[in-house]
Symmetry: C2
Subunit: 399 residues, 2 copies
């Protein structure tokens, strides 16, 4: 029998996937399972943008331009301008989800054996794309005790080698919810300029910043124009994860030229979903007001409940729709399995993502979980009732 590649064998499994059979078994037993484990919002996709697809009069569903509809890219220029990012439509390649933007950026800028510095914990799939590309991730730790703030300049400087080609951030952050300040971003800029590195900035959650704070895009930083690479997606912004429409945005012509060849090799991003994404640009500005208020309220509720639980540590996240909490348990993966296998409260239980899967360094985050506040407030409340009760019972179990 032919054998698969080392690359294929070493692809990291999804950190969430492992618990899925446990959740299915819990449901089979008749339990209600609150899914706080994944970033799949329950917010409705704006009907207007689904309608745009439904009303298309296309006769032939043909390839689009490899960089995406020109009309869509031109509208995106206006969208980015509203968000403080000054680009032309030629600085934009529409990608198949944010995922493909990440892959194109890594492939275009790093060769096998090259290194990319990423503060951990980080979005686990960065690891999968790095493995695909044969690239090595060099993690530096952001700590729950600092609320997951940017690591220090010294931490970055220590991690830089001759093989370092890029730093990658997610802002606001998945999984921590941390929103980087202007000062932190300027620190990153200085490190990138000094060491001649690309800055990959995953800004999937741009619209979700709280406490009156503004989002600052890496591409708006003066002097970083040739270094900053914006990785974007409509998935979370418009509750349209299944569209698979994202964007790679950069003013570095050499990089865009290379990325365009990766884009041409796969022909085009999905056409139907581009109709939807293009229509989304025309949503009224107040669309986000309602969505933002909803997430803000969910955050306050979820984190408030967590902070009120004995022994739980949960920094208030400034953005996105995730929080990381440290729990008074021996091992969060074991606890999450126990929640699905052994526990129930009023016929329900909850599913969370053990945070160890978001740390590159083995052993880190073993008492932490990531919670996505993508459910209605009533459901969050019930889920927190479950968690509160579960922690009492579980403590008793392990003592």
């Amino acid at each position: 029998m032919p054998v698969i590649s080392h690359r294929g064998a070493s692809m990291p499994p999804s950190p969430i996937r492992k618990l899925v059979p446990y959740a299915e078994a819990a449901k089979a037993k008749g339990l209600k399972v609150f899914h706080l484990n994944i970033g799949q919002p329950d917010i409705e996709t704006p009907p207007e943008i689904l309608d745009a697809v439904k009303h298309t009069d296309m006769k032939v569903l043909d390839y689009s331009h490899s960089a995406g509809f020109e009309s869509y890219r031109k509208k995106l220029v206006g969208y980015y301008a509203k968000n403080g990012v000054d680009v032309t439509y030629e600085d934009i390649i529409v990608t198949t989800g944010g995922s493909e933007a990440i892959l194109f950026a890594i492939m275009s800028c790093l060769d096998p054996g090259d290194e990319i510095i990423i503060p951990e914990p980080f979005y686990a799939n960065y690891n999968g794309f790095a493995t695909s590309a044969g690239v090595n991730i060099v993690p530096i730790e952001s700590s729950i005790d600092d609320g997951f703030a940017l690591p220090t300049i010294a931490d970055f400087e220590q991690a830089v080698t001759t093989r370092t080609k890029a730093i990658m951030i997610c802002n606001p952050n998945n999984p921590t919810g941390y929103l980087y300040s202007r000062e932190e971003l300027e620190t990153l800029r200085d490190i990138c300029l000094k060491n001649n590195l690309f800055l990959f900035s995953d800004e999937a959650y741009r619209e979700f910043c709280y406490d009156g704070r503004d989002h600052i895009s890496a591409l708006s930083l003066e002097g970083l124009e040739e270094h900053a690479v914006l990785l974007d997606t409509v998935s979370k912004r418009y509750s349209a994860c299944g569209a698979r429409i994202g964007a790679l945005v950069s003013k570095n012509k050499q990089l865009m030229g290379a990325a365009m060849k990766f884009a041409q090799a796969r022909l085009s991003p999905p056409s139907l979903a581009q109709i939807l994404a293009e229509a989304a640009i025309d949503l009224p500005d107040d669309y986000f007001v309602g969505v933002h208020a909803e997430y803000n309220a969910r955050r306050d509720l979820l984190v408030g409940r967590l902070q009120a639980m004995e022994g739980v540590k949960c920094p208030m996240p400034g953005g996105a729709f995730y929080a990381i909490a440290e729990l008074p348990v021996d091992d969060s993966e074991k606890f999450c399995m126990w929640l699905l296998e052994e526990f129930s409260h009023n016929g329900a239980t909850l599913m969370m993502a053990p945070a160890a899967g978001f740390y590159f360094t083995t052993g880190k985050g073993s008492r932490e979980v990531r919670l996505a506040y993508v459910l209605k407030k009533d459901d969050i409340n019930e889920a927190m009732d479950c968690l509160e009760e579960a922690l009492k019972q579980y403590s008793a179990t392990i003592l």
Copy 2:
């Protein structure tokens, strides 16, 4: 300024792209340009399958399963059974176009530095995916004088090294239109079994076989179950290139396990287009009868016209919707540019793909072009009038 990767810099450009500005200039001059250069069919996408998308009642456009809708995969089992391929839905991963199926197969089976043998000329984007994966293509020549039949066993044996992991074919073939016989496929099977290689079989054009011949899938070959990897797409089958829905199909569990991790890293294939692809399975069996008859008539017309031109060599293709022709010109790329820049006949000209772009070996195919018969018969006739006249004028020019 940070520098891009060697990988990014060495990505091959699309062989067709180079002529695009010339075509645009021709159109700007008011010329009608017949596009025989790309495999974008003009056949309408079946309205029923577009309607399936238009009638969706989804409220949240969410991620699908990373392997695609389970309902769709279960229907695909029936589709493959009708085509002599016996698989379960767990042998299928729905991909973002056939492109992603190719990438996942290469990534899962080959490491950087490993080799894949491909008869040339071949679909140019294989080269892009190999470059992405750091994999080396080892071409062996199929010749226009044999009608692009499978190279000999000796050719394959000579090309196999300790780094060879797979052979890749496209059947029926893009760009040659060649349809492999059962005997040829059994030869390939024996080579793969003897040398323990995967056989990647791109069967995008399965439905388009002519002269009463049947398509034989690599996955239907007895004894090759663990070696055969079917790469598929709905693009050409239903004239739905912009859907970006394909499939990776294999009975090799280890391979599918690895491919699934690549699939999970990118989350899911596009949801809207999966609705369309799933609806396509329910098209009446006679849907292909009409489409097939149309392509068959176009083939007969195009190839008949080419074969009647003095000095033109064009083997009759057995499948797909491409033909390769050797022209009585000094250099086909130069000729194709001349057609767009200098030539017109009754206010029109034609665009073809210089075949050198489909050969891996520099210098090969320099007098050949690929023509896609994706236009209506009247347009093909007019395009052939142009070509016939052009060859006369061009011969005069270069003499």
